[in-house]
């Protein structure tokens, strides 16, 4: 369960986020849409503990973002907008490298299954020769290595083809619905985000606002 209360973020004198309040339950996918510079990435980075808020309170499963930061990081999976993988490694080497760093130890087969679950089949292939979509999938797979309960994805499908987008979307839904993971997701693609998410917030600036835009009362699977 995520509780965000009165969240504010300022860069020097400039207010980027103001009085943000919302909640998330396990198994829920929340989307964020908005123009560039509206504060989507900032909000995600605050929730990912990459940044600290100027004001406000965040609690994740009753853990405080101020005092329990190490414990929180263990249950967060953050997929940054930039692809953070080793270009000179193969898919296998990337997975094994980050598995060794991870809290959760997995066998090579488990790492491979994680990739196969999201249709990333080029296990032995060098990352430099992968398509953008495959790199995005690997970027996501690495963030899932420690089996996080709360997944934050910053534009995970930017610049990739429709098939890969649909595969990633479908995989995220299965993670939320089958494994009860909370997922927060940003995108510029309205169609994609309304298809994948249970709730979609619109975020904007001058003045700052965060409005509930879409709430799929009917399960997304039935909408399709």
């Amino acid at each position: 369960m995520l509780n965000v209360t009165g969240l504010q973020k300022k860069y020097k004198e400039k207010t980027v986020l103001e009085n943000v309040n919302f909640q998330m339950k396990p198994g829920e996918i929340v989307g964020l849409v908005g123009e560039n510079g509206a504060g989507k990435s900032t909000l995600l980075q605050l929730l990912a503990t990459v940044m600290q808020p100027t004001q406000g309170d965040i609690q994740l499963d009753e853990l405080s973002y101020v005092t329990d930061i190490k414990e929180i990081r263990r249950i967060i999976g953050y997929v940054p907008q930039d692809i953070s993988i080793w270009e000179e490694f193969t898919v296998e080497e990337n997975m094994l490298f980050f598995e060794k760093l991870s809290w959760k130890k997995r066998t090579k087969e488990e790492c491979r299954k994680l990739c196969l679950d999201m249709q990333l089949t080029h296990w032995k292939e060098g990352v430099h020769s992968l398509s953008g979509g495959m790199k995005r999938k690997l970027n996501l797979a690495i963030s899932l290595l420690h089996d996080p309960a709360f997944l934050l994805l910053d534009e995970p499908t930017v610049g990739i083809d429709l098939k890969s987008k649909m595969e990633i979307g479908s995989y995220l839904r299965s993670l939320a619905k089958n494994e009860g993971k909370m997922i927060m997701y940003t995108s510029h693609d309205m169609d994609e985000i309304t298809t994948v998410c249970d709730r979609v917030y619109a975020i904007g600036k001058d003045p700052f606002y965060l409005n509930l835009l879409v709430e799929n009362k009917i399960p997304v699977e039935q909408l399709k």
């Binding site: 503990t49 967060i76 953070s84 490298f97 980050f98 760093l101």
Partner: protein
């Protein structure tokens, strides 16, 4: 630690070629430069030819004296060949030790002992003539002194006391043991250190240190590559923090590079007759630790690879210059001994441990580790 070593090994496997190059470069460059300088020094000696017409002990000694003169490259050859090569300007000058050299010296005749030939390009002729004349004068003076002593023995009826040869031999021994042209001073109650030391143009460890510092900085660029902004966020969500990984990697690199340093010490010992003692190895290890810590900390405060390389080159040059490995600092260190502490290179050359450097770097490293655990991204 096992996991850190495993992933460090994974990274190393991808860059082993460049790493091997950087680790071998200091040895290769030092050997090339030292041998180049040696060749250059040999080629810059003044080439002269000696034509020895007389086969006596005194003539042979004169040849030895001339041949052992550091700035002369002396070759023995027949007169015809010597003059031909002089005409071709392959030789600066030609000297002929004429038949009757010893006889003339013994007879106290000092003229026409040696014939000399020069060409219009004999730039060092006057200096070489002075040198060779001084050797002949030495023989003549020694011989005359021996005769005077013999005369004194004769005057005091002690003719059987010493022979002419014994006096000459004793005179040579005295010359060697007392170094008559050298004066040395020493402070009261201090050890007398009059042993003459020939200072080499370049020191092998000094040249090596320059390349070792630069290549160490290049080897440590992984600090920036593996902690680039996009990757930095990954390290927040890992059990092994970046600080632990980087510290483990520092240890890993120190072990690997020090192994190469040991190989270097063995090579230098066999090629350049450098000492290979426990003291040298301890000094080498402390130098390695200092340079690795310096490269590590410099990389940790830089965000741009290009700027890191620029700073690295600047620091390497500075350490080498104030370390006295290229420009000797004997005069300065005599006046201000603290200058020796400014560069770990000086400690390496002196076979000591750069304690101040190590202490400061260890404190900064501890602070980095402590701070790294607290900072956010």
């Amino acid at each position: 630690m096992k996991n850190i070593l495993f992933i460090r090994w994974m990274r190393l496997k991808k860059e082993w070629r460049s790493h091997i190059c950087w680790m071998l470069l200091p040895i290769v460059m030092t050997v090339l430069i030292m041998q180049g300088v040696e060749t250059w020094q040999a080629e810059t000696k003044v080439p002269i030819a000696l034509v020895v017409e007389e086969q006596t002990e005194m003539a042979a000694r004169l040849v030895d004296d001339i041949a052992s003169t550091e700035l002369l490259h002396t070759q023995l050859m027949p007169l015809d060949e010597a003059l031909h090569r002089l005409q071709q300007h392959e030789l600066d000058s030609v000297f002929v030790i004429r038949e009757g050299y010893e006889g003339n010296i013994l007879a106290n005749r000092r003229n026409q002992l040696i014939d000399a030939y020069s060409s219009n390009r004999s730039f060092a002729y006057q200096a070489v003539v002075e040198t060779i004349t001084s050797y002949a004068q030495q023989d003549a003076a020694r011989s005359k002194a021996a005769f005077v002593i013999k005369q004194l023995f004769s005057d005091y009826d002690m003719e059987d006391e010493w022979s002419y040869e014994e006096i000459i031999e004793r005179s040579r021994e005295r010359q060697k043991s007392e170094a008559l042209l050298q004066s040395s001073f020493n402070y009261y109650d201090k050890d007398n250190t009059t042993e003459e030391q020939v200072l080499p143009l370049l020191k092998a460890w000094g040249v090596w240190a320059f390349f070792a510092i630069i290549t160490t900085f290049f080897l440590f660029d992984w600090m920036l590559k593996e902690n680039r902004p996009s990757m930095r966020q990954r390290w927040l969500f890992t059990e092994i923090s970046y600080e632990k990984y980087a510290s483990g990697s520092l240890l890993f690199f120190t072990v690997i590079i020090f192994f190469m340093d040991l190989v270097t010490a063995f090579i230098f010992s066999s090629l350049f007759q450098e000492a290979l003692t426990i003291r040298v190895l301890i000094s080498l290890f402390s130098f390695r630790l200092t340079i690795n810590l310096l490269a590590f900390l410099l990389a940790s405060v830089n965000k741009q690879l290009f700027m890191y390389y620029i700073y690295s080159l600047g620091i390497a040059l500075l350490l080498i210059v104030i370390g006295g490995s290229i420009i000797p600092l004997y005069g300065l260190t005599g006046k201000w001994p603290w200058i020796e502490e400014l560069s770990p290179v000086q400690s390496l050359l002196n076979g000591t441990i750069p304690l101040i450097w190590l202490f400061i770097l260890a404190v900064l490293f501890a602070r980095w580790v402590q701070k790294g655990g607290k900072v956010n991204a």
